[in-house]
Amino acid sequence: MDKCLICGREIKVALDLKWLFSLQPFKEPVICHNCEKNFKAISDKQTCPGCGRLQDDQLPCKDCQRWSKMGEAALLGNRALYVYNEAMKSYMQRYKFNGDYQWRLIFQDKFSQFVTKSYCKNVLYVLIPVDQITYKTRGFNQVSGLLQNVKVSNLLAFKTTKAHIKQSTKTRQARMETAQPFKYCGKKRLTGQKVILIDDIYTTGRTLYHAKHVLQQNGASQVRSLTLAR
């Protein structure tokens, strides 16, 4: 029997009727039930329509109202799978910053399903890229590690090859003042194409809105986003 990737204890698997009737092959879990409990899933009903944050009503939250005031005609309509809580924070620390690539398996299935089932088929999936120097030291793109069997188009790239300062190390204000880091690197112009941006975390939305602007300048008709955590 395999051990839980997070706590290292043996995983006890109970085969239930739900699995039996699903007629799916058995998939061995990579984390135990106890660790899974710490991640809080976001249900669709009570989220902010702009950023996908879990809240009590269905109105745009304050951050999203601010985006509207700053001149965004359409909000991103972000949808996230999990709340960004302590457990998710330490997950990101281990997966992204320590670079434990195995940990992608913890959410790979669920996030891939979430991505493919969220929108109909005639959309382009675009990942937020990782700059070259980070890619060299980290060895992987944390977003594409979370996806399996999802066809993505590489339409975004960093303007400079220099390492940029990571969003996660900045204060909120510094994040919001970040200049456009992306350029369009697709071969053709997107004519009226719908695009879904995929990222790991939505914090202030700055990165995703920058990406949205680049794509819209190059012809995308609608840009929305999906993230693992909000």
Binding site: G99, Y101, Y135, G139, F140, N141, G145
Partner: protein, 444 residues
């Protein structure tokens, strides 16, 4: 960073500043070796299948020791041989004024002799025997010989507790404390106190390495840490294990005369260990589901509360904590206050302190409190002692929580079981045998 911070260490290039790296390029070695279908990490020496270690950019990484910083195939490890460049001590660094008891003294003398030889040595002293104090004369001797010493333990709590005690006993030495949550930076010191994981960052550094609580998680059954301990030691160094409950592996080595050992089967207060009572109570779990406590257990717990002694209730799994606490609260008199603790509990230290201050009468706990904690005049109950989580060593340690004070040198220890199992029988047998040895010692 100074050059001496690399003596006897094995550091990843991300831990070494750029100017030193240039200078020491000859002293570096690849951090990962690739074999046909597996990779071998040169820091933790563990092997991983390539398909589990592959990164999308074609490199490989070691997932086993990643918490100390990731080792990938493009990394290098830096090492300088240990030179023992310590200022020589003119007088003894030991300022501790206490006195060892006769039996402690005997044990301590054996240990002092053991460090003259290289190889492994075990000191088996029962729970509450005063192991740390018995180490002092040995440490004094080795420090005077300008040798480098390390005190390691698998448990952070043990390290954190050892550090101030060592600091006050050896004021002339500035020991360094290393563990994952420590904010202090490394400095080259003759005396290192660290968790066993930190030993992965040492290579041929220590003349004497003492590992306290060798049988504790994560050191036991962890080949990676065992290799790290052997490698952190100089080839002719001495490795000393301290424990109250040796594992089967260590006991086997003693029997085959592969490991020299000294025993101390008596506690410092010269009383025998409390022998656990094994109670068979087949349906305790079913009763608990119905919010009831078996009559026998209830009357015993009530007696403990009436006598005013605090007690610990051990359960095998995290999920049992809340339901057991609820049942106890419902069935015991309201004046008795209780709580539950587990390893990741943010209030763990607070709750243990409240228990010490007699604000709480009992704690429901996982095995996290099995060792390293002392509450005077304690009683202990283990619910489901026959579960797999409770190994023989864990049970002996748990029983060792009782009767640790001079005032009340005995206490009740009750193992509640559904089935006869080897672990429980062995634990009781081990305690009886230790008591037999202790009695012999007492009677001269």
């Amino acid at each position: 960073m100074e050059l001496n911070e690399l003596y006897g260490r094995l550091l990843l290039d991300t831990e070494v500043p750029a100017d030193l790296k240039k200078e020491l390029i000859k002293n570096s070695r690849p951090a990962l070796i690739q074999h046909e279908n597996y990779i071998e990490c040169q820091r933790c020496l563990s092997k991983t299948l390539k398909n589990k270690a592959r990164l999308p950019n074609g490199a490989y990484y070691c997932p086993k020791c990643i918490l100390l910083g990731r080792v990938a195939s493009n990394n290098k490890l830096y090492h300088l041989p240990e030179k023992n460049l310590f200022s020589s001590l003119e007088c003894s660094p030991l300022v501790w004024q206490g006195k060892l008891s006769l039996f402690q003294q005997q044990c301590s003398d054996q240990l002092r002799k053991a460090v003259d030889r290289s190889g492994e040595y075990l000191m088996w002293a029962v729970t509450g025997a005063g192991k740390t104090e018995m180490l002092f004369p040995t440490l004094e001797k080795v420090l005077l010989q300008r040798k480098r010493v390390c005190l390691a333990s698998p448990r952070v709590d043990v390290c954190n507790e050892l550090y101030p005690r060592i600091c006050t006993a050896f004021t002339a030495i500035d020991p360094v404390l290393l563990h994952g949550h420590s904010k202090k930076s490394y400095h080259y010191s003759q005396l290192t106190i660290c968790t066993t994981h930190q030993l992965l960052r040492f290579l041929g550094a220590f003349d004497l390495l003492i590992i306290d609580e060798v049988d504790a998680f994560p050191f036991t059954n962890n080949e990676m840490l065992k290799q790290a301990a052997r490698r952190a030691l100089k080839p002719n160094g001495t490795l000393i294990f301290l424990t109250a409950t040796p594992t089967q592996e260590l006991l086997g080595k003693i029997e085959r005369h592969q490991l020299a050992a000294s025993y101390l089967p008596l506690r410092f207060h010269r009383h025998l260990l409390p022998v656990p009572q094994v109670w068979f109570c087949g349906r305790w779990q079913d009763k608990m589901y119905c919010q009831k406590l078996p009559v026998k257990l209830k009357s015993e717990l009530n007696r403990w509360i009436d006598e005013g002694f605090p007690f610990l209730v051990f359960v095998s799994r995290l999920e049992l904590l809340a339901p057991v606490l609820r049942v106890l609260e419902a069935n015991l008199p309201a004046k008795a206050k209780g709580d539950s603790v587990f390893s990741a509990d943010p209030k763990r230290i607070n709750k243990v302190q409240e228990m010490r201050d007699h604000k709480l009468n009992y704690l429901v706990t996982t095995t996290i409190l099995e060792r390293g904690v002392t509450f005077p005049s304690l009683n202990v109950m283990v619910l489901g002692a026959d579960e797999k989580t409770f190994s023989t060593t864990a049970l002996v340690q748990i029983a060792g929580r009782a009767g640790r004070s001079q005032k009340r040198p005995n206490g009740d220890v009750i193992f509640v079981c559904t089935d006869q199992v080897k672990n429980v029988r062995k634990a009781v047998k081990q305690i009886r045998e230790l008591n037999k040895k202790g009695k012999r010692l007492l009677n001269g």
